[in-house]
Point group: C2
Chain length 278, copies 2
Amino acid sequence: MDTRELSYFVAAAEELHFGRAAQRLGITQPPLSRAIGRLERRLGVALLHRTSRRVTLTDAGAVLLAEARPILAALAAAERHTRRAGTSGPGLVLATKAGASGELLAKLLDAYAAEPGAVPVDLALCESQPQRLLHDGRADVALLHQPFDPVAGLDTEILHTEGQVAIVPSGHPVAVRAELRTADVSDLPDLPLARWPGPDGAYPDGPGAEVRNQTQLFQLIALGRTAVIMPESSGAGLPEGLTAVPIVDAPAVTTVIAWPPHSRSRALALLVRVATRF
Amino acid sequence: MDTRELSYFVAAAEELHFGRAAQRLGITQPPLSRAIGRLERRLGVALLHRTSRRVTLTDAGAVLLAEARPILAALAAAERHTRRAGTSGPGLVLATKAGASGELLAKLLDAYAAEPGAVPVDLALCESQPQRLLHDGRADVALLHQPFDPVAGLDTEILHTEGQVAIVPSGHPVAVRAELRTADVSDLPDLPLARWPGPDGAYPDGPGAEVRNQTQLFQLIALGRTAVIMPESSGAGLPEGLTAVPIVDAPAVTTVIAWPPHSRSRALALLVRVATRF
DNA sequence: CGGATCGATACCGCCCGGGTATCGTTGCCC
DNA sequence: GGGCAACGATACCCGGGCGGTATCGATCCG
């Protein structure tokens, strides 16, 4: 099966309309019709059931669509990884969530820079989903936080484990407590927990404020509109008006350094070695 | 990146010899040279370092090779799965290890056959690696035994959990014991544990007999040459001269029914539903 | 029943993949 | 050290397939 045929089929299967699919692919409709027809003939299976008015997926088409998408994604990732591995480029790109693991990151970068043979490290501080940068080749290595960030398909080393704290407005009654339990903060009607976007960019339902980054979040907390539970280290150096209170029964957060399997860079290996010395 | 180019590169990277690689691909050498050159130009990266006497992988080539192999395997699997999903075929093919889960299998097949809407079920009884049949599309569903069979990348439902027994010659001193511990049978100098082939078909080192199937194994045990630890149910209905003794500290064996993700067959869904009723 | 929408088909030009012939380089061996 | 053999690169040719335009045929709508 050819890559082109496969992406043609995915486009047609997603659009369920040959004209629009062809447009999306930057070709005209007839070659698309022929390509899909040829693919079906080669497989000996109908993939799309089509009348001149409606196009639907057959069972076989649904199977192929589900398998084709990750294959095409893996192909694109392989291409980017190969490009990065060949062009020595600007050194390493390290991805992590902005605001997370601040002290650990600073220590790591300092220690690495002091090593003989270190290369320049660029930072990719994203608002969410740092592991995506790894998968699509925009970064070489990432600091991820279990259980928040999925690490499936990556090689990892554990760097650090820490508890979590609630960050609340200093004026709120719970701010004076020495410690809290999860239930103490998840049930406050006047202070609903902030909601972060999921992997698809959509927000879960709930009463709390929708937030995308830490600045926004801290401002909303300072205004008494929301609260949040996050790792201890993210609560270091809080601005005025915010208080961190340990949550004793929250699951521990593990910071890991992660990289795509099959990486062969000496610079990356050195960075991982330095990181695991902590 | 084209599939053809990718498989050309894999062949060249594995053979490290353009002539042989071309022969393996069923083409001549010049188109292969051109294809690899074009791929390198498009990626902007050298994949193979070649003199007229020696071909070696570059770092980028090693990355691409490692990523390309699973991608090509996934492509081939997708093709087979799609073919199977389309051609309603002879019904379902169920794979499992010959001799394993005998009673459970019989019950499952009977119960399924009694359901309205059941289709004929063919059995693929293999000597090892039943999950391979699933991955390459030769089977639709399998009974696997954790922790022996890898279930990564499959959808599963747990059917049954059982302990393990040692199967020894009836005349041996340990045969009269009511129960054993793993250490009791793994250290017997006169009765070394049988060795099964690994995923690559090679046998691990050790003193025990090399076996491939249950008939062979039981014969060797009856002759006093080896012993084995296996799930209780596999020890049911032993031939004359063999005795099963429970191993109290062996890890439990879980029988699962497994199928490739994205399967959409009604017949398969029914089989799984029947299986999970036990 | 006429028109509009949409997928299939016919036909054409060009690019690209594969083939044969040959060149240039590099170890190797006498 | 020179001749030779092995091997990858290059030159050139041919045919198939991909993409384009034009058009057909079917189906739904008003």
